[in-house]
Subunit: 410 residues, 2 copies
């Protein structure tokens, strides 16, 4: 019998109890023994729950239970979840989490504590919800150098962008609809500002860099709040979709180029298969070539099933580190300077702006006029020749009279 | 230092040496020690190879080398590869293979020998080439009951079908082109007859059934040799693609419905993202929902990288079974009778055939006339109501005057 404890009886935490109960037969077969939830720690009371007798609000009761060998952390955030995780790992208990913020913020320290105590810190559910991505990247692609990862890793923003395309609604209405459907939180800022995607790509990049930790705050990030219906119309005209992409690119095993931002993505590119709340992550290995992982990136049972998958892995590697590569703080800079990264973009300007004015601010850069999709503006694609840097783009757009906006092209 | 031996220095075998050498740094980091090819067994001589001094044609020399702890089998087939695999596993050496025929034929016995000798029989490369699918299915989805798997698992046939669509060529020309490009073998029968896909879905199904072995020979299988340019034209008119699908379906955890056959697949279905030699496998878990794995299903380095990934897993689980679920021969029938499976199909008949004749042979079945795409024939979609069985379809088409062909609709 393997006993586990759950920290936080919210959406994912209660999903974990449900997955364990609905698939108990399969789990027992896989594990060779039964898996049982022993205690659940939450400050709230759930008198109606069938698990009411397992619930406690006393952390000492929870952590002093020596029968619990694996702890599921579904509290979220970097406050008490951080303290609880350290406490469990220090006791030699493997911790399984869906908390991307905590992994992206304190992953190095937490994995180190796990390693010192012969247990593991597992986080398959932190990226892509239930889609297997962490273990395939770390384990199955172990014989590959990871050259590139391009992910649609935030379901909320992908739902909003898909809605804006299909229903021709504006950003605000699409966000409202996402909130009504439970795809966006009341305070949606972490999703729509790109912070959630930033954390997820920092986790994937740290794995791709063999444990060299990528601080999410160092990744240039833009959200989708400025995308409007005209952008969507341009996308349609260009046979493209607008996707919030999280990108890690390191083809030569030198410095990694990283960005989180909305991009125009050609419809023919496989990533575009992910519409609505779906996620898709394309990984390029130097031996494998391209592989893509696709599925629902969120959802109670999907995420919980990834958590329980990790619980089983932890149980099968009891007293071991489950072969997770230890992350470390790299001594040297590992990110390529954002300003020097090359970029292609669609530039929207007022129709009153003369083409020569646009060409003037992009000297020696390819400027390609586009057919306009609205009456009062005109547009250009810049940088298709691969010579435009982010810095030059940022400076140039400030100098264009009648400048409206720009969106990057993948 | 981990020493490995390679059985067979062909395409994949030599790819394994190349992947180990090109990614040695990454492999050492992952493993915590170096990985070295100690011996290669092949009856052929390779005097020009940099590995010439590792090559031997003497099986005893190879198997008596006690330093070798992991054996890579890339011989193929079920002859000498079977004997060699048994010999290595009996010595407690983990065997890693890309040989789907051997896994699908003797998997139960080989896994049992591995288990008895505290080693593992690993075969991530047997399905989907380099795409991670075996481990994600077995390990990451361990907390899910697998309800359905639909795969485009044969790159050769997918290339041929894609060529027929894009270049409007017939089957023979497309096959010839595939052979010229190295995507099809001189004797392409295992690919085009569906046998290769049959073996691969039998492996995936055996995992999905928690180890209950599915004999590939019991899976109803059709190849793509009868697909002609008119089928392709119908597909286009129906906004669909023709794909050789390998299907396992067991939503209620009872008997599994399985088939390998070409199907008309709606373009909007994510699987259609796989064109050319690419593979895509959609998996439905009862908690996860749908997840898809996509990538190049073949190729020397891609397949070799999956083999080396398994080698690393085997090395990290030295002296253990690497947590592969033991397969077994089920006592009861586990497949739903093919004759009783429900089917939808497009039926092509000569224009001279009266619609009433078609309706006559499908009593109480939905018969939907289709616009014809060629002058001399007409067509119908049958079974959209979900009431048509494979048996009734097979009997009915024999009775239609001027019957040309039928293709299933996914």
């Amino acid at each position: 019998m393997i006993y586990i404890g759950i920290l936080g009886f919210g959406v994912v935490g209660s999903g974990v109890t449900e997955v364990i109960s609905m698939n108990s037969e399969k789990i027992t077969t896989h594990l060779g023994q039964t898996l049982k939830v022993k205690r659940i720690l939450d400050v709230r009371e759930f008198p109606e729950s069938e698990f009411a007798d397992l619930l406690t609000s006393d952390a000492d009761v929870f952590f002093n239970d020596s029968e619990i060998s694996i702890v599921v952390e579904t509290v979220g955030g970097v406050g008490i979840a951080y303290e609880f995780t350290k406490r469990a790992l220090s006791q030699g208990k493997t911790v399984v989490t869906s908390n991307k913020e905590l992994v992206a913020t304190h992953g190095v320290e937490l994995m180190s504590i796990a390693s010192q105590n012969n247990c593991a810190y597992l986080f398959e559910a932190a990226v892509g919800g239930g889609i297997p991505i962490i273990r395939p990247l770390h384990r199955c692609l172990a014989a590959n150098r990871i050259m590139k990862i391009t992910g649609i890793v935030n379901g909320t923003t992908n739902y909003i962008l898909t809605q804006m395309t299909l229903s021709k609604t504006d950003f605000k209405s699409a966000l409202l609809r996402a909130q009504e459907k439970g795809y966006a939180e009341k305070n949606p800022s972490a999703d729509i500002d790109g912070t959630d995607a930033q954390r997820k790509i920092s986790i994937l990049a740290s794995i791709a860099m063999n444990g060299a930790y990528v601080d999410p705050n160092k990744i240039y990030t833009e959200g989708i709040t400025t995308i409007d219906s005209t952008d969507i119309a341009y996308a349609k005209a260009m046979h493209a979709k607008i996707k919030l992409l999280a990108i890690f690119s390191n083809p030569d095993d030198t410095l990694a180029e990283m960005i989180v931002a909305p991009h125009l993505v050609d419809e023919e590119i496989p990533l575009c298969v992910a519409s609505g709340v779906f996620n898709a992550i394309m990984v390029k290995g130097n031996a494998l070539g391209d592989a893509m992982f696709y599925g629902k990136g969120a959802g109670r049972l999907a995420t919980a099933s990834a958590v329980v998958g990790d619980v089983l892995d932890g149980a099968l590697h009891k007293g071991k580190n489950a072969h997770i590569t230890q992350w470390y703080y790299p001594e040297k800079e590992i990110l390529f300077p954002f300003d020097d990264m090359k970029v292609k973009a669609l530039i929207r300007v007022l129709k009153t702006t003369d083409e020569s004015k646009v060409r003037e601010v992009f000297p020696q850069i390819d400027v390609e006029p586009m057919d306009s999709v609205v009456d009062n503006e005109t547009s250009f694609i810049v940088g298709r020749d691969g010579n435009l840097t982010e810095k030059d783009l940022a400076e140039a757009i400030n100098k264009i009279p009648g400048y409206i906006s720009r969106i990057r092209i993948y």
